[in-house]
Symmetry: C2
């Protein structure tokens, strides 16, 4: 089972990174961009907790996005040290193109499965994540 999960993840990452490559984005950057959209104005530390990576890792991802002009980081007026991250117009546009590409890859992956099977699979995967103590409940 672990082996199959690992292989699936590897195949998926490969397909996704190939698809994202023309846009100049890595998978980690695409993921971070999605999180920023779903909750605008988070700090680096908050972003890191949401994606379950360290703030040191997240900072590199965000720096890449900032260099590309896809996000901006503005100091919180009420808190001198915190930098709140927000999508730019170009960030929104690029993110939408990524979504379309991701959907194509996912469609290929799920080709054999009908809709009810797909949602059941997603539920089961989430249950596995919970079982490993990496659940979707953090900040």
């Amino acid at each position: 089972m672990s082996y199959v999960i690992g292989r699936l993840d590897r195949a998926l990452r490969r397909r996704l990174s190939d698809a994202l490559e023309p846009l100049g984005l890595t998978i980690a950057q695409y993921t971070a961009l999605s999180i920023v959209r779903s909750a605008d104005g988070l700090s680096n530390a908050q972003l890191a907790r949401r994606t379950l990576i360290t703030p040191q890792s997240m900072i590199k991802v965000i720096a890449g996005l900032e260099d590309k002009g896809l996000v901006t980081r503005a100091p919180d007026p009420d808190h001198g040290r915190v930098l709140r991250t927000a999508l730019t117009a170009r960030g929104t546009e690029v993110l939408e193109r990524c979504d379309a590409l991701e959907e194509q890859v996912e469609e290929a992956m799920l080709a054999e499965l009908a809709d009810p099977q797909r949602s059941r699979l997603l539920d089961d995967l989430k249950a596995c994540v919970r079982g490993l103590g990496a659940g979707f409940g953090g900040e």
Copy 2:
């Protein structure tokens, strides 16, 4: 969906590598060791094809296992260049301990799922792998 698969894989890898660490093995080494057991006497190129990685990557993994004395590599008598990889007694022993550790992690991961759900999940995951063209059919 892709996001959940990625997160699951990351959590799983983390747990597994922590469990394997006292034995001095990496996940890639454990995987390779399992493949060698399931088909003794494969060449490096064959091992690479089975696990869908490049022979250049596999050679590093195998070298690590050889250094630890868990596998041996002997030249094929009928083919001067090919090195056939086989488990040593210690390799078999270490592998069995790894299996026990892996089972514990998997049990935690699958805690919420009953037996029929588990096998269905495995089937679905394999279908996804096939969908991405990384199926289990190669040499």
